[in-house]
């Protein structure tokens, strides 16, 4: 049975020749049975016919095209070739580059991100140290200085099972009258390193590796060994020729390394080397037969400043066991 609505829905397919031969034959046969549908179909085809006629008439004459071509040629002449084509021309051999800008850009961005992440990781430890240092700096009175130090310790709690040595050190350094002793520059460098390593639970070897150059680390190792040898020498022994000689060599290297760290703005390295230098100088300048008092004084300072422990931390190697929770 003929359905006008359905037939008209199919008229577009019929008019635009989207039906197969059999479907087309059936659709035309159905139109024959309905005057209204046939009329609509004919009016549609007639519309398209008139449109085609007008479309042809609207086209410019043949004389128009040479001008069109000339104008197009002119515009193309001013067109710069694409970067790919220019690059291909420059390279010469690569006639058809298939470089796609988007994947290339993504790849470059990923590489940059990786480099950024790596350098950020390296700088992270240094930044932490500077942060601690900046918090410590505004200490106009001894009392507020102490409070500031306690604040640093408070925000950087020690890992479980590890005694908070900093706290005890500070409490020991407070004078009975309530004032704190002046903290020397070289002491701060050591304290900062220790503070970060102990309180934040960082791997010592990583901290050392990120702060100091391999040359500086080796220097610390040698200095540590020399200072141990000096400290452990028998109380009565005054034969320290080997330590003196070694100390002179280390002193020379220490000065060079400190200057280098200064130039590079590596504060932790500079301060660690500065704290070592007076000891190297003292040992190197010892008389041939030093008195027991002279040696005792140096040993006492060594003990008080915990320089050997500090050097051990600074020169920690990746294989060195780190703090472990029990």
């Amino acid at each position: 049975m003929h359905d006008c609505v359905k037939t008209r829905e199919r008229l577009v397919d019929l008019v635009f020749d989207e039906l197969g031969s059999e479907a087309r034959r059936r659709a035309l046969a159905e139109l024959e049975g309905c005057h209204d549908c046939l009329e609509r179909y004919r009016s549609m085809t007639e519309t398209l016919r008139v449109f085609d006629q007008a479309a042809e008439a609207a086209m410019p004459d043949e004389g128009y095209w040479p001008g069109y071509e000339a104008r197009l040629r002119e515009r193309l002449r001013h067109e710069r070739p694409s970067w790919k084509r220019r690059l291909a021309g420059w390279i010469g051999g690569f006639g058809q580059l298939t470089v796609r800008p988007l994947p290339l850009a993504i790849g470059a961005a990923l590489i940059l991100l990786a480099i950024g992440w790596w350098s950020w990781q390296r700088q992270q430890a240094v930044m932490n140290l500077l942060l601690v240092r900046n918090i410590e700096r505004p200490t106009p009175t001894p009392q507020s200085k102490l409070e500031a130090r306690d604040e640093v310790i408070a925000i950087t709690p020690a890992p479980r099972g590890i005694p908070n040595r900093r706290k005890s050190v500070h409490s020991n350094t407070v004078k009975p009258d309530g004032g704190a002793p002046p903290v020397r520059r070289e002491e701060r460098g050591r304290e900062i390193i220790e503070n970060v390593v102990v309180s934040r639970g960082y791997d010592q070897s990583l901290i050392a590796a990120s702060l100091f150059t391999p040359e500086t680390i080796r220097h610390f190792e040698k200095a540590q060994l020399m200072l141990r040898s000096f400290r452990n020498a028998a109380k009565g022994s005054t034969d320290l020729a080997y330590e003196k000689q070694l100390s002179q060599r280390l002193l020379y290297q220490n000065i060079l390394l400190r200057r280098d760290a200064e130039m590079k703005g590596n504060l932790p390295a500079e301060e660690a080397l500065s704290s070592l230098e007076p000891f190297l100088l003292d040992i190197a300048n010892l008389p041939d037969k030093p008195s027991g008092n002279e040696l005792g004084e140096i040993r006492e300072r060594l003990q008080r400043k915990e320089l050997i422990a500090s050097l051990q931390i600074s020169s920690a190697q990746p294989s060195t066991p780190t703090f472990q929770n029990p």
């Binding site: 549609m44 007639e46 086209m59 197009l72 040629r73 193309l76 694409s82 084509r85």
Partner: protein, 213 residues
Amino acid sequence: MIQEDKLIERAREGDHESFCTLARSYQRRVYALALHYTRDPHEAEDLSQEVWLKAYRAIGGFRGEAGFYTWLRRITVNTFLNHQREMKTMYSSGKKAFRLGELVSLDELGLSPSEPRHAPEERLQQQMMVEKVMEGLSELPARQRLIFLLKHREGMTYEEIAQACAVSTGTVKKALFRAVDRLRECLGVKLVSPDGAPNSVLDEVSYAARERR
């Protein structure tokens, strides 16, 4: 076709002249599409040349997986759609009337030959018909107009149009139905009687033209 392949190859290598020769083969087709889309000869020239400029920039990426014209048509459709967006932002109303003067002005600009193709009377009749058709096209929304042109002038399938315009095939069919219906109303086309006698003012023009042939 071998000739075209060679031209494409040279154009890819940056040969300016080969590209111009290639453009000569298809410029009428692209221009016609642009003319019916914009309903303005000047704008049609600008738009069609923009298509060629884009094709020139992109020809290095043409790998010959599809025919050259299929590739070019994709650029054409994208350029038209971009143009439509630009026009939307420039004018609140997209409707534009095609004036007889615009065709006449082609002569003034030296874009048409000085000798007319047809007699003045016939030329006037044709111009009336063109104006009517262009007015009819103006009545259509830009996307509907493009869908109609791609189907009727370019013979693309529903699926190809749907893909090119990022719409469904159902939308394409509806757009076509509405476009033809609207054009039919604008052109005043009614049932053509069995003897082919005119039934509307416009039919008189087309009838006269048929009679002359």
